[in-house]
């Protein structure tokens, strides 16, 4: 196992981001023999995909795909992963980069067996970011059931409290280490692939769509967590205000996407995501009505189009061409969405139990610029400079994409990184 960070500078690749794109680049490069360092800011690998309930269009859980990737990572001695890690600084050029990485403390070491005793001992609860704040976790927690690495995390919020001590005392394996400090390491690599992914667009910014104002307006990623068996409701899709089963749900497409006031581009996945969500709800509630308000429905490619056609056959799913521009709520918590049906030319006000905003993806780099000399589009996507070479962005750091395209792109960028090394 190559853990010496100074070794083989010209032969190593740094992958920033451990989501589906970063995992793919890492594995594709490592499995042809290159040394790969994988840096992930969260305490777990898998990124956005690990938050999904099912993939479209096959409606299979992403866990199985992630599991295979995790297995491959564990089996490959050429891969070194760092979680809770961020790139601080990149210097040098193609073939010879010097990268400074900050490792944040997990307060739990590799002795952890996931027995859960620290969690039981801990009393303080913190917002569960993995579930978009829809529930709480203890201050000592496992990010999610199949977190990789399978190791607990102690929230920095409880460090210095009695609870931290309780966790320490509860652990029979000497896995809790409250003395951990942030530390910095330096890596020498020949190429860097930025797989920094995306954030769901902040729906509170879309002030005419009522998110944050009305409980029963949620985002598509929140619905994903509600539908997931490891989510805050153990997979029961209920509306937040009273935890009742929705009899009707409206989907607001292009919530913040294709909108100069927000994200001017098409986020690519939201149409397919809402079609998938319609399936989630229809499966749980055979009588529920689904109203999808759209500008244009985009189901690119044969497989996606077939999926769209299948959903369209459902008599309880209604498609209304017209963007929702106004929402209101009544005392019962029901939501009324208003749009002009551009086909009939009538203004439609549809009252539903719950509304889902199909919010788009914003590149993470739009919110926090990456610490390297990279070019960006106005929207914060990295523009790959193949002439300069050395550093490449893949997946949603480069453009809005679904999992399939991200993987294809990530594979391509593994090759670009390898070419950088071989050219020397």
């Amino acid at each position: 196992m190559t853990t010496d960070t100074a070794a083989r500078a010209s032969g190593s690749i740094l992958v920033v981001g451990g989501g589906i794109s970063g995992l793919t680049t890492t594995l594709e490069a490592a499995e042809v023999g290159y040394e790969v360092f994988l840096v992930e800011k969260n305490p777990y690998l898998g990124g956005r995909v690990s938050q999904l309930n099912q993939y479209f269009p096959k409606l299979c859980p992403p866990t199985c795909g992630l599991e295979i990737n995790f297995r491959r990572i564990k089996d490959n001695p050429g891969i070194k992963t760092f979680t809770l890690a961020e790139v601080v600084k990149v210097s040098g050029g193609p073939g010879d980069y010097d990268v400074e990485i900050k490792l944040n403390p997990r307060y739990v070491n590799e002795n952890c067996t996931c027995c859960g005793e620290c969690e039981k001992a801990c009393q303080i609860e913190v917002d569960n970011d993995f579930n978009f704040g829809m529930d709480k976790t203890k201050g000592a927690f496992l990010p999610h059931e199949m977190a990789m690495p399978a190791r607990y995390v102690i929230s920095p919020k409880i460090i210095g409290t009695e609870d931290a001590k309780r966790c320490l005392e509860a652990c029979k394996y000497d896995a809790v280490d409250l003395e951990m400090e942030p530390r910095t390491i330096n890596l020498k690599v020949g190429a860097i692939v930025w797989a920094t992914g995306w954030e769901p667009y902040d729906a509170t910014k879309i002030d005419n769509l009522g998110f944050g104002q009305y409980d029963n307006i949620i985002t598509n990623m929140m619905l994903e967590r509600l539908a997931a068996p490891n989510g805050p409701t153990k997979g029961q899709i209920v509306r937040p205000s009273d935890n009742t089963a929705p009899e009707s749900v409206a989907f607001v497409q292009c919530a913040g996407s294709r909108d100069e006031n927000h994200l001017p581009y098409c986020s690519y996945i939201c149409c397919m995501a809402s079609l998938k969500h319609a399936c989630y709800i229809r499966e749980q509630y055979p009588d529920a009505k689904i109203y999808i308000f759209y500008i244009d429905l985009r189901a690119p490619g044969d497989r996606y189009e077939k999926f769209y056609k299948k959903v369209k056959e459902d008599e309880n799913v209604f498609f209304i061409k017209g963007k929702v521009a106004e929402v209101s709520a009544d005392a019962s918590g029901d939501i009324t969405v208003t749009a002009e049906n551009a086909v009939t030319g009538e203004k439609v006000s549809q009252t539903v139990n719950m509304a889902v905003l199909a919010t788009g993806m914003q590149p993470s780099a739009a919110l926090n610029k990456l610490p390297a000399d990279l070019k960006y589009t106005d929207d914060g996507f990295v523009i790959n400079d193949y002439a300069a070479g050395g550093m490449f962005a893949c997946g949603c750091a480069a453009q809005p994409a679904d999992v399939v395209s991200s993987n294809q792109n990530a594979t391509g960028m593994a090759l670009k990184a390898i070419q950088t090394l071989v050219k020397r």
């Binding site: 927000h262 017209g322 963007k323 521009a325 002009e340 030319g345 203004k347």
Partner: protein, 413 residues
């Protein structure tokens, strides 16, 4: 609906581009605008359908469309528009073409909207006044002078229409000594009749076409056309217009209501003033003879004069506020094109020369005040003669459309 053959009018799209509708093609028909609009009805709301009709060059569907007149260009839709297509500004451009299309002299309407024709349009009254004063008015006077002289008991042969070296009138400057009141009336009464006839012809064409289009599109409850019905809606609509109710429903450019109100009330005030002074002049002339009639200039203590000054200042401040608003750089400011600027220029010009002529008269600056008065009359003539063709024609077309909407049941929210 069956098959329809669409006949796009490409030149129409080009004209919209020139008149402030150049963002039109950015529209991707998401229909946000129809919901964003605070005054759009639930049945066939606007302006989404107007945007696609405009982008397809379907002029016929737009120029006779009642909905383009329901829009008050508040800009709420333009601010919400995800593409920056600015539907509010596009409808403004469409209204401009609608005025042109419905006017009985389209060539004149085109000229009014063409900046290159502005010098000619201004030159027309400047020259017309001279020809009237020197040539035509004396010829007419030969016929009507004796009659008027008999009615108003004065020596009509002593009348000089244009006097470039006038004497003081009872020791003060009187504009009528320079530009005779009879000449003013001989020019402006026919001009006003011209405007009324043009409006009558335009509105007749417009109203019937508007009704047929509205019925065909299923936008109205009333399928019978009735002038009486439209006229009966006038009091309610006029009250709503005077109160600027529609402006107040806007959120983005609510302040426009105030400046518009100042200009509208300014014009109404000046109309009342002019009518009063005309009645006073000819009424007193009938009683006491023209030479002893109550001629201007009137005392500053006269309440009608107060109204005149007040209305003039309202016009000045209102037009300046409108100009400031349109020069604004905020995201929600209205886009402005030549028809907007030419009208605002005219309104400001009227106010400045009107008040200017008064102030310079009181200051005793003879040459300046006569010159200013001459320019003022040029502006007044432009207002009268070009109103059925300019953006100001909205005064009539919008009122008719609003009355029609009220009568026919085109429910605004």
């Amino acid at each position: 609906m069956g098959q329809q053959l669409l006949e796009p009018d490409v030149s129409f799209i080009k004209v919209l581009n020139e008149r402030g509708g150049d963002t039109l093609k950015k529209c991707f028909q998401c229909a946000t605008c129809s919901v964003a609009c605070p005054i759009s009805p639930d049945n066939k709301p606007f302006p989404r359908k107007e945007m696609i009709a405009a982008s397809w060059g379907l002029k016929d569907r737009l120029v006779n469309n009642v909905d383009i007149w329901l829009c008050h260009q508040c800009g709420d839709c333009s601010v919400m528009c995800p593409r920056g297509a600015r539907p509010g500004d596009v409808l403004g451009a469409v209204r401009n073409v609608a005025i042109e299309e419905n006017s009985p002299i389209p060539a004149l309407a085109k000229a009014v909207n063409d900046p290159k024709k502005l010098p000619v349009l201004l030159l027309i009254p400047a020259v017309l006044f001279l020809i009237m004063g020197w040539v035509v008015a004396p010829m007419i006077w030969a016929v009507i002078g004796p009659i008027l002289g008999a009615i108003f008991r004065f020596d009509y042969t002593q009348t000089t229409f244009l006097n470039f070296s006038p004497e003081l009138f009872h020791g003060q400057i009187a504009h009528s000594a320079f530009f005779n009141t009879w000449l003013v009336d001989m020019i402006f009464i026919p001009t006003a009749i011209f405007a009324v006839v043009c409006f009558a012809l335009g509105v007749k064409k417009f109203a019937t076409n508007m009704h047929n289009a509205a019925v065909a599109e299923g936008k109205v409850k009333e399928t019978e056309f009735s002038w009486k019905g439209i006229a009966q809606a006038l009091p309610k609509v006029a009250a709503s217009i005077l109160r600027h109710e529609k402006f107040n429903e806007c959120s983005e450019n609510k302040s426009r209501g105030t400046s518009h109100m100042m200009v509208l009330f300014g014009f109404i005030g000046l109309f009342i003033v002019t009518t009063c002074f005309m009645l006073i002049l000819y009424g007193s002339a009938l009683v006491a003879g023209y030479d002893h009639a109550w001629h201007g200039p009137y005392s500053q203590l006269n309440p009608i004069k107060w109204l005149a000054n007040f209305a003039g200042i309202a016009l000045l401040i209102g037009s300046l506020a409108m100009i400031k608003n349109r020069l604004g750089k905020s995201e929600n400011h209205l886009k402005s094109s030549y028809p907007d600027w030419s009208l605002l220029g005219l309104v400001l010009g009227l106010a400045v020369t009107g008040l200017g002529a008064e102030v310079t008269r009181l200051a005793g600056a003879e040459f300046v005040t006569y010159l200013t008065y001459y320019v003022h009359l040029i502006f007044v003539w432009c207002l009268f003669a070009y109103v059925p063709f300019s953006k100001l024609a909205h005064l009539v077309y919008r009122t008719v459309a609003l009355c029609y909407a009220e009568y026919a049941g085109r429910d605004a929210k």
